[in-house]
Symmetry: C2
Subunit: 175 residues, 2 copies
């Protein structure tokens, strides 16, 4: 059975949207995801440089993350035909380890937790496919990398790109 | 640079020895590591079946683990010539995620925490070598597996075996 590794933030979790919401509350701004097109948070507003670390240090940040549309249904369908691994960079924010685990158990309870991988550098992952929103993660991956569209990567070319989970379903299941 | 993945329990941490110590205190037994030759804990005393889960649920269990002799010095030397990843099964005991991270930062502070991998199934690891005390982990690994001697695996054959960290140094550094 072929193996698909799937990133968490911006692929199955609305990571940036949560950062925007907390920032808007604190600074009385009204940034939306639309404002992030082609930009990282810190390029939208330099104050994010300090703030993101602060938000992530709070355990509830990860527990509150919204699930990206259709990801649950499509991953459940994919898991009948592929070995699914959730592969997330967690070592930069050790406080995220436990809440990321809890979030996965809550929202993707149909996956075996033996298939969760918390790492730093994704070049250590041995899989056939990696679905990730970060081009540099795909660059060092040895299988087929797939760029999952997120606001920040909209203008980047040179990767196999899928824009949403319905496109992922069509790519892997030909449906 | 070639990449060596290194397991934690029984390879760099005295996991079983800590279990024996806690068990001896509780049941007034006097088991030693010698009694574990060729056996798993549960084969030595069936009461370990319940007890190990109970010990591991306590965060301090991992923080208290002793470092296996010469592992720090040899891994530091290896890291000049190889990319070193510490790869540990942590998903069965989610309470171990944070204390395993802390233990590594304390005892292997010279390693970059981006090179820590917490997973379930080690077949997901892409590396040239895996040093592990558990034969089944080596069976699904696609690189060169190396069985690190622990009491429980003493009688198992069919693997490249290294008995201690000085032998690891000779194998990889030809010293």
């Amino acid at each position: 059975m072929e193996r698909i590794a799937i990133d968490m933030d911006e692929v199955i979790t609305h990571f940036s949207a949560n950062c925007l919401e907390l920032f808007n509350e604190e600074f009385n701004t009204d940034y939306t995801t639309e404002d992030l097109q082609g930009k990282l948070l810190v390029e939208l507003d330099a104050r994010f440089a300090d703030k993101v670390d602060q938000y992530l240090a709070n355990e509830s940040f990860f527990l509150d993350l919204q699930v990206i549309r259709d990801s649950q249904e499509v991953i459940q369908k994919l898991s009948a035909h592929y070995d699914i691994y959730i592969v997330t960079a967690a070592m930069e924010f050790p406080a995220s380890l436990a809440p990321k685990y809890q979030w996965l158990k809550q929202h993707f309870s149909f996956l075996n937790d033996k298939n969760f991988v918390f790492c730093g550098d994704k070049s250590i992952i041995h899989a056939d496919y990696l679905i990730d929103d970060t081009p540099s993660c795909l660059d060092t991956f040895t299988g087929q990398g797939i760029l999952f569209t997120a606001p920040h990567n909209r203008d980047i070319s040179g990767y196999t790109r899928l824009n949403n989970w319905q496109e992922v379903a069509r790519y892997f299941l030909k449906v």
